[in-house]
């Protein structure tokens, strides 16, 4: 533990960084003061965020904000780049199992308008390409492909389709029409097996019929074969098994971090850093081994703080479960400003947090993981999982964060709220977070504060 836990502004962090550097701070090659990302990359949003003051958090942020640069370096060193879209955690397991292959999510460009406070004009450019503001902010991906400023053009583009959100499917199709060939693979809508069907257990407590599992396994093998061609060597059982073991190492580390932070009496790490840390599970922020180190350092910091009973958010804060990722990172700071703390999350990729089964043939194990995606099944399944997590982490309130324009959001609020409110009697609030939420801050704050008040009132009764 490096200092008393607190959240710093960007200026405070840069001053602290200078101090630490003078004291002999050792950083990885992508390290440095956070302020340089504002100056060099135009990540203006950083000026309005509050960051955890640990060196581990500094490394996390530098790791996140240098992804574009690291990808270009990897390409310059002869590695092949795979753009994986929508599946959030499945294809990268295969890609990283092969030598000299690196997978990343162009979907990640959805945070670029937030980070650059729309100075990138990606959203305007998307509109000019026929995808307007009625679509999810992931539309920023479309012009980002054309400008190649925010990520390099991948050597292979893979996208899951079928039971995926309409925005993404439509945008990806538009991308293909603009000349970017896509290797599509089918992910069926997960359903509960019927009596006469063979039932397969999936991670996360879900089930699926054998026919669906076979379908996804075949698709995994098809994609695996294409990745093998790109890498110049076959993705065989041995390689994939080793890839799954490595993926599980990252997932175990993240589980330890989540358990440490979410079960602690106070928050040893803030919500914003936890959101970023969880994102690492999806594609390791383009560097699997480094992501493991970043997560291990964060865990060590969190454990040290818990042991010392020194928290960045106090024990009186309301324990909140957050559903869906936020388009504006500032919303996570706001949660704490309103008296809450993050104690559970479903950022739409819980299947990337669960361990992949290692005692099954590898493609089948991967297919089971893909089918456990919370977004491809009935909303009631997702609500059940959230409910179980709420019980386990003694959650006091739930925030369902809507993504503007996303096809699933108008429906899922009600469908999630009813089982949570009825089964657990938890107060639930829905908020919509646009890429830059400053104009909505008073409304968001009022809604979140009302939620915290309700939760505190329930404590008393």
């Amino acid at each position: 533990m490096t200092a008393a836990p607190r959240q710093l502004t960007l200026e405070e962090w840069d001053a602290r960084h200078a101090l630490l550097a003078r004291g002999g701070l050792r950083e990885p090659w992508y390290g440095g003061p956070l302020g340089r990302h504002v100056e060099r990359e135009g990540d203006l949003r950083l000026r309005h965020l509050r960051f955890d003051n640990s060196v581990a958090a500094l490394r996390l942020w530098n790791f996140l904000l240098t992804e574009n640069r690291r990808l270009r370096t990897a390409r310059a060193q002869g590695e092949r780049l795979v753009g994986t879209m929508k599946d959030l955690g499945t294809v990268p397991v295969m890609a990283y199992a092969l030598p000299k292959l690196r997978a990343f999510y162009p979907d990640g460009a959805w945070w670029t308008p937030c980070l650059m406070e729309c100075s990138d004009r990606l959203l305007n450019q998307a509109e000019a390409l026929g995808v307007d503001a009625t679509f999810c902010p992931v539309r920023a991906m479309l012009p980002a492909f054309l400008t190649e400023k925010h990520f390099p053009r991948p050597d292979l583009l893979v996208c899951s389709t079928g039971a995926v959100c309409d925005d993404f499917s439509a945008i990806a199709q538009r991308l293909e029409r603009l000349g970017h060939a896509i290797l599509w693979w089918e992910i069926p809508r997960r359903r509960t097996p019927q009596r006469e069907e063979v039932r397969c257990d999936l991670p996360g407590g879900f089930t699926a019929p054998r026919t669906q599992l076979d379908c996804v396994r075949d698709e995994m093998q098809r994609i695996g074969a294409e990745l093998g061609k790109l890498a110049g060597c076959e993705l065989d059982e041995r390689r994939l098994h080793a890839g799954i073991q490595s993926a599980n190492r990252v997932r175990r580390q993240l589980q330890t971090l989540r358990d440490t932070v979410y079960s602690a009496p106070g928050a040893p790490l803030p919500a914003l850093e936890m959101l970023i840390a969880e994102m690492l599970a999806v594609h390791y922020c383009s560097d699997r081994e480094e992501s493991l180190i970043v997560l291990a350092e964060l865990t060590a910091e969190a454990e040290a703080r818990v042991a010392a009973r020194r928290h960045v958010v106090g024990e009186e804060a309301v324990r909140v479960f957050w559903v869906n990722p936020v388009a504006d990172l500032r919303a996570m700071n706001l949660l704490e400003a309103c008296g809450g703390r993050l104690c559970g999350s479903d950022f739409m990729f819980t299947h990337a947090l669960d361990l992949i089964l290692e005692d099954l043939p590898s493609f089948e194990a991967l297919a089971r993981m893909a089918l456990a995606d919370p977004m491809i099944g009935p909303t009631v399944d997702r609500a059940r999982r959230i409910g179980a997590e709420c019980r386990r982490q003694r959650i006091e309130a739930v925030v369902v964060s809507r993504i503007p324009g996303a096809s699933h959001c108008p429906w899922e609020g009600t469908l999630l709220r009813e089982p949570l409110a009825a089964g657990l009697a938890l107060p639930v609030v829905e908020v919509e977070i646009p890429p830059v939420c400053d104009a909505l801050l008073p409304t968001l704050q009022t809604r979140l504060e009302a939620l915290m008040e309700t939760a505190r009132e329930r404590r008393r009764t």
Binding site: C165, E186, R191, V380, S407, P410, W411
Partner: protein, 364 residues
């Protein structure tokens, strides 16, 4: 028992062969229509609403889009008998084909659970032939019939009433009487109208006023590629392979000929549109999309680029089309296209039929 179908890509033959009555959900009326929340597709909401009053009429939803999947979730939460058919988005792989076959078999088990009888092959063949004959009549009709009349005729097919078509005055008529009605179309005025394609998602009977709005603005829909329009009319069913079961042949036929925007890639849609647009000398496209339908709305730019035609997006409202705003936009669009129509070498305007090699399309 009626079984409501929300997609043209589920064979009604299969339901009929089980002794149940397939009915296109486009034509069913919800007893109590709920408000359409912000961001929700009005058509998907309507389908969810149908689950309530029709609690004894099962609804078959599909996974073609996220909104319909969520509508099925909502309908299931309300306790209605709902079947969610997994329509694969991909179509190039044996895996996707197998998935479609499995779903059809699963639908069969669902129908049996409702009291349907598993059909014998012979009975299924008989039903398939009956539907094929009806489709054949519709295909012939589509070669010359006015768009609104064709929509009405297709409605009768998808609504499960095979024998009669509606006349313009709302009375039921035998199909043979329709040529006489078509003959009444003023050929001269038709040739002056701007030939348009109407492309897009579900177009409900209450929204057929769109045809009239287009006509009033000086246009004419010569290709209705909405749902359930001509796009949803399958080609002739080929004879089954030796040893192929009729259900397998039926499944393959639907799987191979579904033309829709949700496919990935959706190149089949373009492959279907291209020759028809050329053949019918179409000058512009009216893209009909539900307000919250990402799949169709995102296609506007691609249609424009790929087909080289002007595209006007007309958004469906929850109840009906034909408001003042739509009328004005349509009028401006058609007026602009009309100005672009150049006299043909023979001196006649290049309207529907006059510049086409397909003379069978010329209205009588």
């Amino acid at each position: 028992m009626e079984v409501l179908l929300t997609s043209p890509w589920i064979p009604p033959e299969w339901i009929k062969a089980h002794g149940l009555d397939p009915r296109g959900a486009w034509f069913a009326e919800a007893a109590r229509a709920g408000a359409v929340p912000e961001g929700v597709c009005a058509f998907a909401q309507r389908m969810a609403d149908l689950a309530r009053p029709f609690s004894d009429a099962p609804i078959v939803f599909t996974t073609a889009c996220d909104q319909m999947r969520r509508a099925a979730d909502a309908a299931q939460a309300d306790g209605g008998p709902v079947f969610l058919f997994n329509l694969p988005a991909t179509w190039q792989t044996p895996t996707a084909r197998r998935l479609y076959h499995h779903e059809l078999a699963r639908l069969g088990r669902f129908l049996e659970s409702l009291g349907g009888r598993a059909p014998t092959d012979a009975h299924l063949v008989e039903v398939i032939r009956e539907y094929e004959a009806h489709r054949e009549a519709l295909r012939m009709l589509s070669s010359w019939c006015e768009a609104r009349q064709l929509a009405e005729a297709l409605a009768y097919y998808f609504d499960g009433s095979a024998q009669t078509f509606p006349g313009r005055n709302g009375t039921a008529e035998h199909p043979d009487s329709l040529p006489h009605q078509a003959a009444a179309i003023d050929q001269a005025s038709a040739s002056r109208r701007v030939p348009l394609a109407l492309v897009g998602g579900p177009l409900l009977p209450a929204q057929w006023t769109l045809f009239d709005s287009i006509a009033a603005a000086g246009g004419q829909v010569v290709l209705n590629a909405t749902e359930p329009g001509e796009r949803c009319l399958l080609p002739a069913l080929p004879p089954p392979f030796p040893g192929q079961r009729p259900l397998a042949a039926l499944a393959d036929h639907y799987f191979d000929h579904a033309v829709d925007v949700y496919h990935r890639p959706n190149s089949r849609l373009y492959a279907w549109l291209c020759p028809r647009l050329a053949e019918r000398c179409i000058r512009g496209i009216v893209l009909w999309a539900q307000v919250a339908c990402d799949l169709w709305r995102a296609e506007a730019a691609s249609l424009r680029e790929a087909l080289g035609l002007p595209v006007l997006v007309v958004e469906a409202h929850a109840v009906h089309a034909g408001g003042t705003r739509e009328a004005t936009r349509l009028a401006a669009f058609i007026e602009a296209l009309h100005d672009c129509m150049r006299p043909s070498p023979a001196g006649a305007a290049e309207g529907w039929g006059s510049g086409s090699t397909d003379t069978s399309r010329t209205p009588l």
